[in-house]
């Protein structure tokens, strides 16, 4: 993102300090939920943002305002409310296009989420373009949402899924990518921009360029990237890119499929139904143009409008500043956790990752870690985070993950480190004896 974008507020230009600290208290007040306590009575430190973020008042209000004042079904309604809803729904699409710097709003398809967006590509583009013996290349760090649809596609077409492994420092080198592209000659290289467990940020533009050299199409899973850093689809140049609304302070149930227009034009619709047609007869149908072709049924109207409010909100703060803020918190948490005995940080050092810190404690299950942190008000996630192949490759059943967003504080990062230290003590063997029955 550069100052060249006329929609970008001036406060976001690179000359401004990338520090939220001055306004952090104000931002936190924008999120009503942050002032609550948890079951134990402790104040909430919400560090589960990679799973889902919280909503600022402007998003809640935008949805509420829609339902209170102008909600109706969109398109083809010849009445005031429908016209107004349609206008707002399509304006939201335009805002998303600007957010990603897409060439046209026609390249923006509203879906139920990032998962639905990837499934749409697999079912539509995949079924048409993949044959038996073809390869889909992914990384071992993918979320299940970027693995299972390809396994399903393999079942339907006979194509297969190949994985690029991780290096010891939780990164993947350009050489590994180039080698895999050369060896497998994949039809599609589908990869995550930012790992939802490791926090590793992969060099999307470079990998896309490599894939181009080998004739592979590219899908980028930007679920953990779009909410946290500037994303420019013309600079990254993928064929497809997906993200979810709820991870960027937006409503649940809405996500975005970005696709290059020529692909979306050539792809058959996936879901059939209302809205996605020009004409239906007793013998067939003629699909609508973009983007309606991929939006069968009544779309998530108020959710799209809420997503627009969320995007406006984070853009106003500035994605560069959000990224820098999260990086600062990550540094505190990552550094602190690495100093604790028995704690292993699962992921690269802070300069190679965003605001996600996953860790494992020797001898303590992640669920017990998470449960215990909850009594201190700290919400983290425990488990495999929908990345079973990654955990298997790392030889771990589960990890505990803290993930930051724009409203988190240094104090919360420090509370995390302190509480993790206590957890270890709590579960360490201490010569306990069971009472005999």
């Amino acid at each position: 993102m550069t100052a060249a974008n006329p929609l970008m507020p001036e406060s976001q230009t690179a000359s401004q300090p990338l520090d939220l600290s001055g306004q952090l208290a104000k931002y936190r007040e924008d999120f009503p939920i942050l002032s609550r306590t948890v079951a134990s009575g402790a104040p909430l430190a919400f560090l589960d943002n990679a799973a889902s973020t919280q909503r600022p008042r402007v998003v809640i209000d935008a949805i509420s305002h829609c339902y209170k004042h102008y909600y109706a079904n969109v398109h083809r309604g010849i009445h005031t409310l429908s016209e107004e809803s349609t206008m707002r729904y399509e304006r939201a699409r335009k805002t998303v296009a600007e957010f990603l710097n897409a060439a046209s709003p026609n390249e923006i398809v509203f879906t139920a989420g990032a998962t639905a967006a990837i499934n749409t590509v697999a079912r539509s583009w995949g079924d048409v373009n993949l044959r038996s013996g073809d390869v889909i290349l992914v990384t071992i760090a993918e979320h299940h949402a970027n693995i299972v649809p390809w396994h399903q596609l393999a079942e339907r077409t006979g194509c297969r899924v190949e994985f690029i492994s991780l290096q010891d420092d939780y990164t993947i080198s350009d050489d590994q990518v180039a080698e895999a592209l050369k060896r497998f000659e994949p039809k599609l290289f589908a990869f995550v921009a930012t790992s939802n467990v490791l926090g590793t940020e992969f060099p999307v533009a470079r990998w896309t360029a490599l894939a181009r050299q080998h004739g592979a199409a590219v899908l980028v899973d930007a679920a953990q990237a779009a909410p946290h850093q500037p994303v420019d689809v013309q600079e990254w140049d993928p064929d497809f890119l997906v993200f979810s609304g709820h991870k960027v302070c937006g409503p649940g149930g809405i996500g975005v499929l970005y696709g290059k227009e020529h692909w979306l034009e050539s792809m058959p619709p996936f879901l059939g139904g209302g809205s996605m047609i020009n004409r239906v007869t007793t013998s067939g149908f003629e699909p609508a143009g973009l983007p309606e072709k991929f939006e069968a049924g009544t779309p998530p109207i108020a959710d799209a409008i809420g997503l627009e409010a969320a995007i406006d909100y984070v853009r106003q703060i500035g994605l560069e500043r959000i990224a820098a803020h999260e990086r600062a918190l990550c540094k505190v948490a990552d550094g602190g956790l690495r100093e604790l005995e028995g704690v292993t940080v699962v992921g690269p050092t802070p300069e190679k990752k965003c605001g996600i810190v996953s860790f494992a404690i020797a001898g303590v299950h992640a669920h017990d870690v998470s449960q215990q942190l909850d009594t201190r008000g700290i919400a983290v996630r425990a488990g495999h985070h929908c990345t079973m192949p990654l955990h298997h490759a790392l030889g771990l059943n589960s990890t505990t993950r803290a993930s930051f967003y724009l409203y988190n504080t240094v104090d919360e990062a420090e509370r995390l480190v302190e509480a993790v230290g206590e957890v270890r003590t709590k579960f360490a063997p201490s010569g306990r004896r069971r009472r005999r029955r």
Binding site: G41, N196, Q371, Q372, G383
Partner: protein
């Protein structure tokens, strides 16, 4: 701290660190093992049943969180000497009660893993053509960790 009930009560941690009959039973007549792939908890149960249908001896092994392991220890301790008829009346709610501290639905799955393995173990004689490929307990409802 504050007013919450600590689910890691003393007796839970006691069972975790000093479990009852943790290990293998050499002359087991029945056995079953299952895991919860969502969190990696595994429980294996060995039973020695008399021809009259009494649980003469019970052992467990496994790995996983405090709740899954401590609850299995409590269960094994509680069911030894019971008949299969008595076992039939020991419901999931009874298991949660035996465990003690109140658990949220997600953690109840951890607590009930051993109990579910036991339900299968009594129907899984060793040495025969038992279906040790059984998928193990099926956990209904929303998955524990299918998020992102």
């Amino acid at each position: 701290m504050q007013n919450e009930q600590d689910i890691y009560e003393e007796h839970v941690l006691d069972h975790y660190e000093d479990p009852y009959h943790r290990g293998a039973l050499q002359d087991a007549t029945h056995a079953h093992e299952a895991d919860n792939p969502l969190c990696g908890d595994v429980i294996h149960i060995d039973l020695k049943l008399t021809p009259q249908g009494k649980i003469e001896e019970a052992w467990f092994d496994g790995e996983g969180c405090v709740i899954s392991q401590a609850s299995a220890s409590m269960l094994i301790e509680a069911i030894e000497g019971k008949t299969l008829e008595e076992l039939q009346t020991f419901s999931a709610d009874d298991m949660l009660e035996l465990f003690g501290p109140k658990l949220t639905p997600n953690r109840q799955k951890c607590c009930l893993l051993g109990w579910r393995v036991l339900q299968s173990a009594v129907h899984s004689p060793l040495g025969g053509d038992e279906d040790d490929d059984a998928d193990g307990p099926s956990f209904g409802g929303p998955s524990l960790k299918e998020e992102s």
